[in-house]
């Protein structure tokens, strides 16, 4: 058991994985903005009992069919559409900083190397197909390789030394000169070899060999279940599950939601977009209130101990509720506690696993639209279900069904836990009374 925690901890603090994860975290605001732009461009008309609000239709009437969507389209082009390019920089930057070497220089070198490998179109343009999510794995590999080389070279004697008294900025720019030259020459050589000898771009090779198979597996129910299971086992031991497996999840799942979004933008209905299992799928339908669907756990606690306002469970739930609304659940995980609590282990893992299956069935059979938007993970349930399904009430209904199932599953365990705790409190009280009598 300690071995497990140790290994999980090592993964969670492994330098390259942390750099990948933080690289994704740094570009997330841009990705969310790009995703929301697409969502607004394609927002369905809302019908509330005869009252109809059709935003897209209204804008089309005002500015001409399709004209105003150019605005959102532009945002998309400079955010989600260049995801690969963005993370090439942010991963290089973060990794270099973790070594204490110049992050900016390393990030810029990573971008330059990435661009060098991107296939050029016939009229001398960069091929957008490879700047985005399809180029993600190349971005990861290139930025890590370039940064490792940069770090190695900058610590060797291959740098230009400046006499004392030269300003720091000047020294730094010269210091990076020879390493940059060597790295760019090497990448250029690789690119030349690929074009002349293999007649394929690195992007196509890596995409076909690594990225596509991983994505194919990622979209399966099995993968969804593995993630749900791993994440919760880690949290049960008090470790930040999403944080530890995030470096593996993001590169596999961001391209899936990107393709859903791209199809949605092109006019495909949210029911017919290609992928079922995505990060928003897990965030909105399974991790409601945080890992373990603790939103339902709080509901269960409020139902079970509603009459005992001083019960510790009630107090933890009350304390955790405001943050829980925004899917932050550390208070309930450590306070109830769920961590290392054998009673809570069963529902804490069983609930998310069940909800993953239910949601997968609901989405893949077309009862509920698939996910076509990324919202911040702190978006409260109900709102998130509506937005990620491209504005569908069915998304909200699935969340309500899921919350009902989850609450029902939590109730017996909360009852058992609360009862055990009440008994312990009474026992302690009795012991204190005994003690007083004797003294």
């Amino acid at each position: 058991m300690n071995k497990f925690i140790e290994i999980a901890g090592r993964i969670g603090s492994q330098r390259h994985l942390v750099a990948i994860r933080d690289g994704f975290v740094s570009v997330m605001p841009l990705i969310i903005v790009g995703s929301l732009a697409v969502l607004i461009n394609n927002f369905p008309a809302i019908n509330l009992g005869g009252l109809s609000l059709d935003f897209v239709g209204m804008m089309n009437n005002a500015f001409g069919e399709g004209n105003w969507q150019g605005l959102g389209g532009n945002i998309w082009t400079a955010s989600f559409a260049i995801l690969g390019l963005l993370v090439a920089f942010s991963i290089g930057y973060n990794l270099a900083r973790s070594y204490g070497v110049d992050g900016l220089a390393s990030g810029i070198l990573s971008v330059a190397s990435y661009i060098m490998l991107v296939p050029v179109t016939e009229d001398w343009g960069l091929n957008f197909a490879w700047l985005g999510a399809q180029g993600l794995f190349v971005a990861i590999i290139v930025s890590i390789a370039v940064t490792e080389l940069f770090r190695y070279l900058i610590n060797t004697k291959l740098t230009i030394k400046m006499p004392e008294g030269v300003p720091g900025g000047v020294t730094r720019s010269f210091q990076a000169l020879i390493p940059s030259m060597l790295i760019l020459t090497l990448v250029a050589g690789v690119q030349l070899f690929m074009t002349l000898q293999v007649e394929l771009s690195i992007f196509e090779v890596i995409f076909k060999v690594i990225q596509q198979p991983l994505q194919g597996f990622g979209d399966s129910l099995a993968a969804g279940l593995v993630i749900a299971f791993l994440n919760h086992i880690l949290w049960f031991f008090g470790l930040h599950g999403t944080n530890i497996i995030g470096s593996v999840i993001e590169p596999i799942y961001l391209p899936l939601i990107e393709q859903n979004l791209a199809a949605f933008q092109a006019g495909v209905s949210a029911y017919d977009v290609p992928y079922t299992v995505t990060k928003p799928f897990l965030d909105s339908f399974v991790f409601m209130g945080g890992s373990g669907t603790t939103f339902a756990l709080l509901l269960a606690i409020f139902i079970v101990v509603r009459k005992q306002r001083n019960h510790p469970y009630h107090q933890v739930a009350k304390l955790s509720a405001p943050a829980g609304l925004f899917n932050i659940n550390e208070p309930v995980i450590f306070g109830l506690p769920i961590v290392l609590n054998p009673v809570m282990l069963i529902p804490f893992i069983l609930v998310p696993v069940t909800l993953t299956i239910v949601s997968y069935v609901a989405l893949s059979t077309g009862m509920v639209p698939k996910t076509v938007a990324i919202v911040p993970w702190t978006t409260p349930p109900i709102i998130s279900g509506y937005l990620v399904t491209g504005g569908s009430v069915r998304g909200v209904l699935l969340q309500i069904v899921n919350l009902t199932i989850a609450t029902a599953m939590y109730i017996p365990f909360v009852m058992a836990g609360a009862k055990a705790m009440t008994a312990e409190i009474n026992k302690n009280k009795a012991e204190v009374n005994e003690g007083e009598k004797i003294s």
Binding site: H240, Q315, F334, G335, T378
Partner: protein, 98 residues
């Protein structure tokens, strides 16, 4: 005194920080208390003590190796129940024993 709390996104810990600030003010302590994500730890200067959220306790070794100030993991229950006073005591104790 500067107390720094580190967790994954700096979000859950920020709730605890509020409680610790209230407690510090009630005691008349001159303390600056901040919550930050792990990735921003390198930018911090002038820190007297670092407390780590229990969910990222595996960072303890790494953080200890990179700083000279006292570092500790926040107690599970104190963290979960957001006991600002207890965590503040933990921070003060660490500084005193350093």
């Amino acid at each position: 005194m500067n107390i720094l709390l580190v967790c994954s996104a700096g979000m859950s810990t920020s709730i605890l920080v509020e409680k610790m600030r209230t407690e510090a003010a009630a005691r008349g302590l001159d303390a600056t208390i901040e919550a930050i994500p792990e990735s921003r730890l390198k930018e911090q200067t002038n820190v007297d003590v670092i407390l780590i959220g229990p969910q990222v306790r595996y960072l303890e070794g790494k953080i200890k190796a990179s700083v000279t100030v006292p570092v500790a993991v926040i107690d599970n229950m104190a963290y979960g129940l957001m006991k600002g006073d207890q965590v503040l005591d933990q921070a003060l104790g660490l500084v005193q024993n350093a």
